[in-house]
Amino acid sequence: MKRFLILWRKEVATYFLSPIGYIVMIFFLVVMGFSFWLLVNVLSQGTEGGAVMNELFGSIFFWITLLIVAPVVTMRLFSEEKRSGTLETLMTAPVRDTEVVLAKYAGALTFYVLLWVPTAAYAFILKMFELPGTPVDLGPMYSGYAGALLVGAFYLAVGIFTSSLTRNQIVAAIACFALICSAFFAGFLPYLVRSPQMRDALGYVSSVMYMMDFSRGAPDTRAVVFHLSGVVLMLFLTVKVLESRRWL
């Protein structure tokens, strides 16, 4: 546990020691700020109980941001260590493979959460300009955050997995992007198939549909199970890849 914390702290610190961390933060806040502006626009036109948090947590901007941020945040994790040879110094220190994978993953997830922190200001702004008689319901915002965390956690886990496969950061990023894009587009399949059984089945693996529920303020435990099992699978595979140098 102690070694996990030491490794985790180093991973988080590394994000703030490289320009990429700041570039991602700026990009993220610009897009989220734009999404918030859209949300305020919709509100100012006056809607009746619509799922307005969709603008923040279900829009195409949200998804594109996530699809770009996840590979960029994770591409470095193992590829860079492999390329520079520091994996050798790291793995010859008395640390377990699992500890290293979990610490790196936790570091990426921490950075991802920190990306979202400034958007908490939106909640305050909404509350501040709340009109008397039309209270702003922040419930959907909380569940929207929960959904963003779940989907993000899954995408980051895919990213750490692809990063463990190669010593080239670009390859890792593109492989992660391809995988999570496939997962994202598969989320639209329920709209395309005709048979209702198929639609139900595909609905279980559709992050897009889950996110729509979450941003309506209707979180679904199936989403939790789906995304967390995805995380576990990806981390398990990452540990196996890391171990694989001992298989020969």
């Binding site: 102690k2 070694r3 030491i6 490794l7 180093k10 590394t14 020691l17 490289s18 520079s84 040879g85 520091t86 994996l87 050798e88 110094t89 793995m91 010859t92 220190a93 008395p94 640390v95 377990r96 140098r245 001992r246 298989w247 020969l248």
Partner: protein
């Protein structure tokens, strides 16, 4: 009796070596003291290549042992196996009594390993990195700080603590790597090519540092530079194509391979006469006139091993009244031993190895 156990072991080893001349030299049979590293019948195969082939050796506590071999001989692979980074295909490796595969963490706690080319995190500061590494090895914060001071002083990093690793010169990076390998005060220090890419002053500093580590630490270092092994190490293990071809102190290795003595003579005389006279001396095997300069001939005389030709040459020269301005015997160097051992010849057949004098460095 009261004999030094090391000397006894040496005698026994020599005896065994003599009796099994043409056979494998990978067995190191007798040793004294506690073994820090115990490698027996270690093999490592990669798809298509056998990097390490049935290697056995021991390193005693407090020894400085050099792994010497041309590039691609299997040095790095062996070291990686010792550190638990790679598994062995076959054989058993123990460090301080712990198996490197089944008790990997125990072993890794006791090892300070500096890989080739010293990989570091370029975005971190020196102190930051060393503290991170110290804590990763389980040093409590206070001990970590104390050790940080110590290794910084030891490795000449007193003023570099706040500097960013990515901006350091090669020499400083090497020091950081050494400090990293030493910060947790490991029993065994493994250094892969510790002086590669350094300038001569830095090389001397690193060598002095390595020598100062024994007997508190056991040191295993690899190098392809012979003079380095000769200067730094108490014992040299020569490895070639994944096999150990020799293992002994530098002095004994030189004796092991009977390299002919080489004498350089500079004298004033006619070339044919010199040839006739000197080549006719007893024990002279070869004679080369290497150059002429204002009537002075530079001659290189090669004789069989353990014979000092100088006296005979001097007598011959003075008898004929020639002028002599230089007469000196070249000690056979480890490089010749190395060349003869790693170029596919059997150790016992290398009496003529002195001819391959211009070898690597």
């Amino acid at each position: 009796m009261g004999q030094d156990p090391a000397a006894v072991a040496e005698i026994l080893n020599k005896h065994v070596r003599r009796r099994s001349k043409a056979k494998k030299r990978s067995e190191y049979l007798f040793s004294y003291g506690t073994a820090m590293i115990k490698v027996s019948h270690l093999s490592k195969r990669f798809p298509g290549v056998t990097a390490v082939d049935d290697v056995s050796f021991e390193v005693r506590q407090g020894e400085i042992v050099g792994f010497l071999g041309p590039n691609g001989a299997g040095k790095t692979t062996t070291m990686r196996i010792l550190c638990g980074y790679l598994p062995a295909s076959r054989g058993r490796v123990e460090v301080a009594g712990h198996d490197v595969f089944s008790e990997s963490l125990e072993v890794r706690r006791r090892i300070g390993y500096m890989p080739e080319n010293v990989p570091l995190y370029p975005e971190m500061r020196v102190d930051e990195y060393l503290m991170f590494r110290a804590q990763l090895r389980g040093l409590p914060l206070r001990d970590g700080r104390r050790r940080l001071e110590e290794v910084r002083a030891l490795c000449g990093l007193e003023n570099a603590g706040r500097r960013i690793i990515g901006q350091l010169s090669k020499g400083y990076r090497q020091r950081v790597g050494l400090a990293d390998a030493l910060i947790h005060d490991p029993e065994l220090v493994i250094l892969d090519e510790p002086t590669i890419g350094l300038d001569p002053n830095q090389i001397r500093e690193v060598r002095d540092l390595i020598r100062s580590l024994a007997p508190r630490h056991t040191v295993l270092l690899s190098t392809h530079i012979l003079s380095e092994a000769e200067v730094t190490c108490e014992r040299v293990i020569i490895i070639n194509r994944g096999r150990i071809v020799a293992s002994d102190s530098p002095a004994n290795l030189r004796r092991l391979v009977h390299i002919g003595a080489v004498v350089r003579v500079e004298l004033k005389a006619e070339k044919p006469q010199v040839r006739g006279v000197l080549a006719g001396l007893p024990a002279v095997e070869n004679l080369v006139v290497e150059g002429e300069d204002n009537g002075w001939l530079r001659v290189r005389v090669e004789g069989s091993a353990d014979v000092d030709l100088r006296e005979n040459i001097f007598d011959a020269v003075t008898q004929r009244g020639w002028k002599l301005r230089e007469l000196h015997m070249e000690p056979s160097r480890l490089e010749e031993v190395f060349a003869s051992l790693t170029q596919g010849e059997t150790v016992s057949e290398t009496s003529g190895a002195g001819q391959k004098e211009d070898s690597v460095e």
